[in-house]
Symmetry: C2
Subunit: 399 residues, 2 copies
């Protein structure tokens, strides 16, 4: 009466499994700067809640499996901002980007089939892929190189007869790497040559800094039949708890397969979709102000982190994460020290050990990810606490 092997061998989320030590530190009276999870403190635009509050039907009924029409139409108009043109049949609403990815892996991978992904990568991809017995094959990148991965040699060396798809997360979590349109074209050429799908997770689409353009695989029309986009309201609109995402593709076989799966789980919550429709109708200026806010947070975080002696880190170009190599051997052990032993004036900090973002065993043990989701002054203080912590930790270890 055992459980399945796929689940037995899974790990707990490396992003969430230190939570309880964070709560304990708080229970012991410490203030904990939570840089470990991509939960912004930015206000959710009030139109989300207003639309829900105004919903006045007496029965909270099932929605259509593919999504509420009002939301599909709002998304279609939003995509037009970037000159991307979709129809209702090209979009299916999901429970966050997470369910979108689960549906995509379920619809694409037979047991044992492979998807390429640059490591370090957002760790939950392991869950989405393993739960259907697929296999993620890592393309290893390095802090020293700014985690660049769109290279023909690197990608082609990993392709096998089992390879079915290339996963692209841009702007990237956890590295903040942003693909240029030329890099996307290169990935597209490789995908065409080897007949692969492109799974493009673009939930941070607008968060590209320093004059970088907003890019999307949806802009490359010659790839339309092999590209599937993942979208979400979580980050763009600071509405993580709404759990509204989408699968977007012009490949009819894929969308038809995903609709079958979606019908099995009936629909996404009706009210959340009504609220999300209001978000997708926000004026384009909203994205500019959000980008400006996160860029200021990035600047604050990067400036302080890069001052720490021995740190290896390049300025991230997008999303709201920064991955850095720290001058400690074991970042997990260092984090436990920060939560259970360290404080500075009653304050400490939480971050995520990056080893969980690597598929290759042994990599990333000296790296951490932080999410720059708090206001700039808090980011500075968080980074300062990491600096002070490293000094105290290495002193304790006699280094």
């Amino acid at each position: 009466m055992d459980i399945s092997n796929r689940v037995g061998s899974m790990q707990f989320s490396p992003i969430r499994r230190f939570n309880k030590y964070g709560f304990e530190a708080e229970a012991n009276g410490k203030t904990v700067y939570r840089l470990n999870i991509g939960q912004p403190d930015v206000e959710t635009p009030p139109c989300f809640k207003e639309a829900i509050n105004n919903f006045d039907k007496k029965v909270i009924a099932y929605a259509e499996s593919g999504g509420v029409t009002e939301l599909l139409d709002a998304m279609i108009d939003y995509m037009k901002l970037y000159d991307m043109h979709y129809t209702r049949d090209d979009i299916l609403i999901t429970n966050g980007g997470s369910e979108a990815l689960t549906l995509i892996f379920t619809a694409l991978l037979n047991p044992g089939e492979e998807a390429l992904i640059a490591e370090p990568f957002y760790t939950n991809y392991n869950t989405f892929c393993n739960q259907v017995n697929g296999k993620l094959v890592p393309l290893t990148t390095k802090a020293e190189d700014g985690y660049a991965w769109a290279k023909k040699d690197l990608i082609e060396a990993a392709i096998t007869p089992q390879t079915k798809a290339i996963c692209c997360i841009s702007p990237g979590n956890p590295t903040g790497r942003v693909l240029t349109l030329d890099e996307m074209k290169l990935v597209g050429e490789i995908a065409k040559e080897h007949d692969l799908w492109i799974i493009s997770d673009e939930v941070y689409r607008e968060f590209a800094y320093d004059g970088r353009e907003v890019t999307s695989f949806g802009m490359l029309e010659d790839l339309a039949d092999r590209v599937v986009l993942v979208d979400s309201v979580s980050k763009r609109y600071s509405a993580c708890g709404a759990r509204v995402g989408a699968v977007i593709s012009k490949n009819k076989d894929l969308m038809s397969g995903i609709l079958k799966l979606a019908q099995g789980r009936l629909c996404c919550p009706t009210l959340e979709q009504v609220g999300a429709a209001a978000l997708y109708r926000l004026d384009k200026s909203y994205y500019d102000s959000a980008r400006e806010e996160y860029c200021a947070r990035r600047d604050a975080a990067y400036e302080e982190i890069s001052k720490i002696p021995g740190v290896v880190c390049q300025k991230p170009g997008g999303a709201f994460y920064l991955t850095a190599k720290l001058p400690v051997e074991d970042v997990e052990d260092f984090l436990m020290f920060m939560l259970t032993e360290f404080d500075d004036n009653g304050e400490t900090v939480m971050f995520t050990p990056a080893s969980g973002f690597y598929a290759t065993p042994g990599l990333g043990k000296d790296e951490m990810r932080i999410a720059y989701v708090l206001e700039p002054a808090k980011m500075r203080r968080g980074a300062e606490l990491i600096k002070l912590g490293i000094e105290a930790y290495n002193k304790k270890l006699g280094k």
Copy 2:
């Protein structure tokens, strides 16, 4: 660049795939009585929406992966109504009963492993099981026998070395069959003898009529380690569009495995959980009045359906479905006739062909499922339309 075999071979939901003909009939000016889907017209208790409207945090943030504490505690108190005692760690909140079942199958079945289920069964179990390459093995039941299935011979004949679990849906969809506590004990004995899990879908728990007691596998303490319950607000509280469900089990390995999967998709929507907590805190009298209402609908539907010459149907004991054998050879063809050719005073009716509820090829072609989710007068008219339709259909076929 094909899609996965598991999805390629899946069917569209037999409950939803006739929807477009229903919409077309409406567009052509017909009134369509929708008895095809378990979407009640009963008002969702206003406390659900009130709780959501009163939520006043500025950021719609992630919830904990296992669920919002307030909801877990409300569910714990609700279960105590039936003398069942659970802790927060025994419950994990899901996106409806649908996600609960997906998580359970993912956590229990290796590819090729089997779960037993009485057929006809709720068709989406195929999706939940197939998406992880598990296999549902049907225990065939008959209209003439009231779809009884809790029989030692029937169950044991289907057990193989690959059998991992027995699925129990009681009160049952689509048959309305209710297991007595003695039948549950029998199933439990078989499960113990063959070391099987029991997956008990109890989303219709309170809808047991004619003096039948509310029963649950959670009441049988000697089975606690092998039982996993599925719960949902959809039917009990007429809140289908809220998509709030739960996995409930005292088996720590299973709950730990399911938590890993749940962390992958981060959490369920925060607002819906706040609303659901209010539902689970409704007074026990709510269940009595809901039961009374559905019983009146059952009575109206059954009385009219059983008057149709040639119909085979026993009075369903629970849930809000009735499956019946009709005096036509091909119910799918009959349904198409009803939606595209038939009307009586501009009215027609939609139901679900039952063949999609059978795993054994060829079975159920002359059976239909109706959901008695509309008020009694509408159920009577719906049944009358079926009767008139059968007459017109058989006349057209020259019978």
